[in-house]
């Protein structure tokens, strides 16, 4: 079984910051906007290196999205930065009308997504953003799993012409993907090959899925772990090819089961290959204050939850 080594814990938001720093040097059309969260979004380098291309908007997210849409008229590639909650729900209509319906090349970059934001609690822990963004016709939705992948994704979306929602997080988590990876939007990454169950994970849950697969392996269960970094457009083929082999699937995400990756996978399976599926996701609930690890445990979003879901789905084969 292929194994992955943690190169050291790092936050995905720093991967975004590193990607943006690089884009500042390599692509003069890239501009960055932030709504009073420069440090949290790791946008300091870009701001310091390219002050003329950096726009501090203040605490005014609706204005930020509109300004970003306007900056594209004149050939700029705007990257907006704030927390996931304020990047989506707060500005849904601005994204819908001024960005996506208007076909503007804006990159909405969202940190502190999901429950691992931690102690700030439910007001800041959005678990509905993937659903909100994937419903917009023409929107690309990406949720990266570690520092290296987030950096690679940040570089890749600058080359993609069209609106993108890039979701990442706050806590330091395992950094295990290749530093020099090429990020292909819409292309799933099969991390381990297996024959008994397919585990499809996104974001912080990908490392948890790898941890679960090790335990399952010791129990004699062969798990195929797929990293779905792009939720829309979804790599239908990778999912179908895998479940044709394994006959059952577990989806894992730091998001409500309604509207998330799991539902997108269900749609593909229902249409092409009905397959037993279990969901590792929040159960239509808000979060609460706590440490990320405590919250992942309480809300069933870790390797233990994936193992349990796998055992359940295997019984349904």
């Amino acid at each position: 079984m292929k194994t992955y080594e943690n190169q050291g814990n790092k936050d995905t938001r720093s991967g975004f910051g590193a990607g943006l720093t690089e884009l500042g040097k390599t692509n003069e059309n890239v501009v960055a906007l932030c709504a009073d969260l420069i440090g949290s979004l790791k946008m300091d380098d870009f701001k310091n290196n390219h002050p003329e291309r950096f726009f501090q908007i203040g605490i005014a997210e609706a204005n930020m999205i509109g300004i970003a849409a306007g900056l594209t008229i004149g050939g700029k590639i705007p990257f907006t930065g704030t927390f996931a909650n304020f990047s989506t729900g707060r500005v849904y209509d601005q994204i819908r009308q001024s960005v996506v319906y208007s076909g503007k090349n804006v990159k909405i970059c969202a940190s502190h997504a999901g429950i691992t934001l931690g102690e700030d609690g439910a007001t800041h822990q959005i678990l509905e953003d993937i659903g909100l963004m994937k419903m917009l016709p023409g929107m690309t939705v990406i949720n990266t799993c570690d520092y290296n992948q987030t950096k690679a994704a940040t570089l890749a979306i600058a080359e993609h012409n069209g609106p993108v929602y890039l979701r990442f997080g706050r806590p330091k988590v395992a950094n295990f993907t290749n530093e020099d990876q090429t990020f292909e939007i819409g292309k799933a990454v099969t991390l381990t090959e297996g024959t008994d169950v397919t585990i499809v994970a996104t974001g912080h849950l990908v490392w948890e899925a790898l941890k679960a697969s090790k335990v399952l392996h010791e129990k004699g269960i062969s798990a195929e772990v797929i990293n779905i970094h792009t939720i829309k457009p979804l790599d239908d083929k990778a999912i179908l090819d895998s479940v044709r082999k394994t006959g059952c699937i577990v989806t894992a995400e730091e998001h409500n089961y309604l509207g998330g990756l799991g539902e997108s996978v269900s749609r593909v399976l229902a249409k092409h290959l009905p397959t037993p599926q279990e969901y590792v996701a929040t159960n239509d609930t808000f979060g609460e204050s706590g440490t990320p690890a405590q919250l992942m445990e309480k809300y069933g979003l870790n390797s233990n939850a994936i193992i349990k879901a796998t055992e359940n789905v295997l019984k349904r084969k």
Partner: protein, 281 residues
């Protein structure tokens, strides 16, 4: 001096277009459209410096954003009569498969439109972004925008108004159509906003008032004044006092025609008050 006779004739023709467009599909927004006919005609024929061919990026030309997208009839009529697309296409307003959607959009690729609008309060932010892009590109042309007065009740405007002066976006001229009306009645009854002039000035803008917003000479003079105030480290606001429904006597001075089309008889009366000048579409 510009040939205001031609502009007046054009305005009359634009009024006819507006009436005929909304009458044909028995929907649309004639009131605000008629109130801004002189402004649009002046803007596209005398005020703005635009390129002959439409390009989304709008480099090296003045560009315009309509924030109160429901007055699409006047926008479409003036765009067509300025050569952005054929006037025959005005026949397709609000019909299935048309590029002339109920509210303006880039989605169907209609030349002249650079952003979708309709959900109110978003246009000033977009105009600010475009104005800042012009500065980054070393493009000295201006960005114009138009907003309804009722639209100022949307909070995003005030984020944008605060930002524009803080960031000294002085290549933007935002015009407010002060017709004092919104869907449910007079703005002073629905949600009184006090002095809009004082508010913009308090937010650090230069303000130009055009008392006769349906008088082409007054518009040209006021907009020239506004233009002279650009480039002075302050955004510029034009308060354009208009009469909703202007030019059709029974539609004037009321909010009743905000979003209502005339019937056959009303259309005939309205057209009779505005005889054909440059040819109907």
């Amino acid at each position: 001096m510009p040939d205001t006779k031609h502009l007046k004739d054009l305005t009359t023709q634009v009024r006819r277009d507006i009436l005929r467009m909304v009458h044909k599909v028995n929907s649309g927004h004639p009131g605000g459209s008629l109130g801004c006919a002189e402004f649009f005609v002046s803007l596209y024929n005398e005020i703005m410096d635009t390129n002959a061919t439409f390009n989304m990026d709008g480099r090296d030309e003045d560009i315009f954003f309509l924030s109160n997208g429901h007055i699409s009839p006047v926008y479409y009529s003036v765009l067509a009569r300025s050569g952005y697309f054929s006037i025959d296409e005005l026949n397709t307003f609000r019909l299935l498969d048309s590029r002339l959607q109920g509210h303006p959009t880039t989605h169907e690729g209609l030349p002249g439109i650079r952003i979708a609008s309709g959900s109110l309060g978003q246009g000033m932010s977009v105009a600010l972004g475009a104005a800042q892009a012009k500065k980054l590109n070393g493009d000295n042309h201006l960005v114009y925008s138009l907003h309804g007065d009722g639209e100022l009740q949307e909070g995003q405007n005030w984020e944008a108004i605060m930002y524009a002066s803080a960031k000294k976006v002085d290549n933007l001229i935002s015009t407010i159509d002060l017709n004092g009306k919104q869907i449910d009645g007079a703005t002073d009854d629905v949600l009184p906003m006090g002095s809009i002039k004082n508010k913009f000035e308090a937010f650090g803008w230069s303000v130009v008032e055009i008392e006769e917003g349906n008088n082409i000479d007054a518009i040209l003079e006021g907009m020239a004044d506004a233009k002279s105030k650009t480039g002075k480290r302050k955004p510029v606001c034009v308060l354009l006092k208009t009469v909703m429904g202007n030019g059709i006597d029974f539609m004037m001075h009321t909010h009743a025609w905000h979003g209502k089309a005339p019937n056959d008889e009303q259309l005939a009366i309205g057209l009779a008050q505005n005889p054909e000048t440059l040819g109907d579409y």
